[in-house]
């Protein structure tokens, strides 16, 4: 656990903030208040330093050379994998594949796992809450195989309609692909329960964990999923790197996806044999510095303590929720009982896009639009929302400073 001092009223976040150089900058002459961590988080010095050090001192290709640097680079790369394996409590490093991010991880499963398996009439079950990256790859594979896409509805409060789930898990359902934490409205889905229901019916599960990783201690074995996707940049790591966790038995049985170097054992023109896991799914020179940076991000989160982070963020969530409700004409979209610190809202007479521009001029970075979840935003009958997503470095004072800016925007436009 962390040794961060706590003040009487609430947690003093200044020591954590000091780890993030980007937070020191100004925007339009105002101190930056970064409320857009769900789009991409800022990176702590620990991550920046790990990557910088790699390029300055150890830079070499991995798994290839006999020279010293290559050996050192390989060690750092594989140490990162080991750290991440522990971070999500996978059974072994063989189950942890480096990808470009959640999107690539889901596409890998759709193409290398689902595509060979799915038959016409089979069903893939997703939900209304999915990010486009957990919709489109399934639409593509359905198109390719003749399988059908089925959708778990979302209730008015932003929770999954759990009563609808049993009927949707049919004999024809082969895959359930579900977001763990919604990037648009913050809902934390009951993934253990749903994975158990799927397992009882022999349905393979994939969880899109892009937004869960920065907020929750994720234990893939306790959750009981078959696949789990991770984006490095949402969990304070670099862009262009992520993970696919997959149960070894499933990954082992899958054909490779991309072909190239690294993923082979021997190549002749007559026959190529493939490498073992995880290399089988890592064709080409990987994002070595990215992987090392992601390992450093996991180490950083552990050094603060995921419980301490969650406690701080829940405090921010409660405070922000109650403060936002003081703004007249403001409505929060999605009020699930279990939420991460992501809040979507709309203000009567104020289009989110205008709001985003207006608050930017006071230094506040928020996201506006459909958040790559068009079906969900449409479900709420809206074209767009404004989204405030709070990370470990945000403070109560920043939230308090935001409220008058929202009121000003409303006064200006309405």
């Amino acid at each position: 656990m962390s040794a961060i001092p706590r003040s009487d009223s609430h947690f003093d976040v200044s020591a954590w903030r000091a780890d993030f150089p980007a937070l020191r900058r100004t925007v339009h002459g105002k101190p930056l208040v970064y409320f857009d961590s769900a789009a991409t988080a800022q990176r702590p010095l620990a991550v920046l330093t790990a990557m910088d050090q790699f390029y300055r001192q150890y830079n070499a290709n991995v798994h290839r050379g006999v020279h010293t640097l290559s050996g050192e680079a390989t060690d750092l790369f594989e140490q990162a994998r080991t750290r991440l394996t522990r971070h999500i409590n996978a059974d072994s490093e063989r189950e942890v594949i480096f990808t470009r991010g959640s999107t690539e991880s889901i596409n890998l499963v759709a193409q290398a796992y689902a595509r060979p398996k799915l038959q016409p009439g089979d069903q893939v079950l997703i939900s209304t809450m999915e990010h486009h990256s957990n919709i489109v790859p399934w639409q593509m594979v359905c198109e390719q195989t003749g399988a059908e896409l089925k959708i778990i509805p979302v209730l008015e409060n932003g929770e999954l309609d759990m009563q609808a789930v049993p009927q949707l898990l049919t004999e024809r359902t082969k895959i359930l692909a579900l977001v763990h934490v919604s990037n648009a409205v913050g809902t934390i889905n009951p993934v253990r329960q749903i994975c158990r229901m799927a397992r009882e019916r022999n349905i393979t599960t994939l969880l899109d964990g892009a937004q869960a990783m920065p907020h929750l201690a994720v234990d893939v074995q306790a959750i009981g999923c078959d696949f789990y996707s991770v984006s490095g940049h949402k969990m304070y790591g670099p862009t262009g790197i992520g993970l696919l966790y997959g149960r070894e038995a499933l990954l082992d049985a899958m054909p490779p996806w991309h072909g190239g170097g690294e993923m082979i054992r021997t190549v002749t023109f007559e026959k190529t044999t493939y490498n073992d896991l995880p290399a089988k799914f890592e064709a080409g020179t990987p994002n070595i510095a990215g992987a090392i940076g992601l390992g450093a991000a996991a180490a950083y989160l552990q050094s603060l303590g995921l419980e301490a982070i969650a406690e701080h963020e829940q405090h921010l969530l409660e405070h922000a929720t109650s403060q936002l409700k003081q703004v007249s004409g403001l409505r929060i979209v999605g009020e699930a009982r279990h939420k991460a610190s992501v809040i979507s809202f709309v203000i009567d007479g104020v289009h989110p896009h205008d709001l985003g521009t207006i608050v930017d001029h006071d230094g506040f970075a928020i996201r506006t639009g459909h958040h790559c979840t068009m079906p969900l935003i449409k479900r709420f009958g809206l074209p767009a929302t404004a989204r405030m997503s709070l990370g470990l470095y945000n403070s109560v004072a920043e939230i308090d400073a935001f409220i008058p800016v929202l009121k000003k925007a409303r006064a200006m436009l309405v």
Partner: protein, 151 residues
């Protein structure tokens, strides 16, 4: 420019007033053509109605509808206010001129487009150019399709 003055330059009173009381809004009934405009970046959706004379070569007036931000709404409103009783060829020139003004900062020469100078601040704000451009691009696309059909 300070933050608040650049914000004031963007959200000029004229724009705010057009956003509150848009010209041509909700006036699509009996339009000769209805064009759909969509901004995939933000999800904004507008419909533009063209009222043409019987020959189809002359625009009487425009109307619009939809859900859009203040910049887009004001832009559509000024479009409806300023562009009417024009030949299709005249219309095309004006549309191209406004889009050039927003995206490439080419000066607005035409007298009928002078009120659109209120969007000049967008030239420095690429993230919002698409908002003002949407109604005009919608019209541009429709005019191109219309042209193909009538050639």
């Amino acid at each position: 420019m300070t933050a608040s003055s650049s914000l004031d330059a963007l959200y000029q009173q004229v724009i705010l007033e057009h956003n509150r009381h848009p010209v041509g809004f909700d006036q699509l009934d009996n339009a000769s053509l209805i064009a759909q405009g969509y901004n995939p970046v933000c999800g904004d959706h507008i419909q533009l109605g063209l009222f043409l004379d019987a020959g189809g070569r002359h625009l009487q007036k425009l109307g619009f509808d939809g859900q859009s931000c203040a910049i887009c709404t004001a832009s559509a409103s000024l479009l409806c206010q300023q562009l009417h009783d024009l030949s299709i060829d005249e219309l095309k020139i004006l549309v191209n001129s406004f889009l050039g003004f927003i995206k490439h900062a080419t000066p607005l020469q035409e007298p009928s487009l002078q009120p659109l100078q209120v969007f000049a601040e967008l030239q420095r704000l690429p993230t919002r150019q698409g908002c003002a451009a949407l109604p005009w691009e919608t019209l541009q696309t429709t005019l191109q399709e219309f042209e193909v059909k009538h050639e």
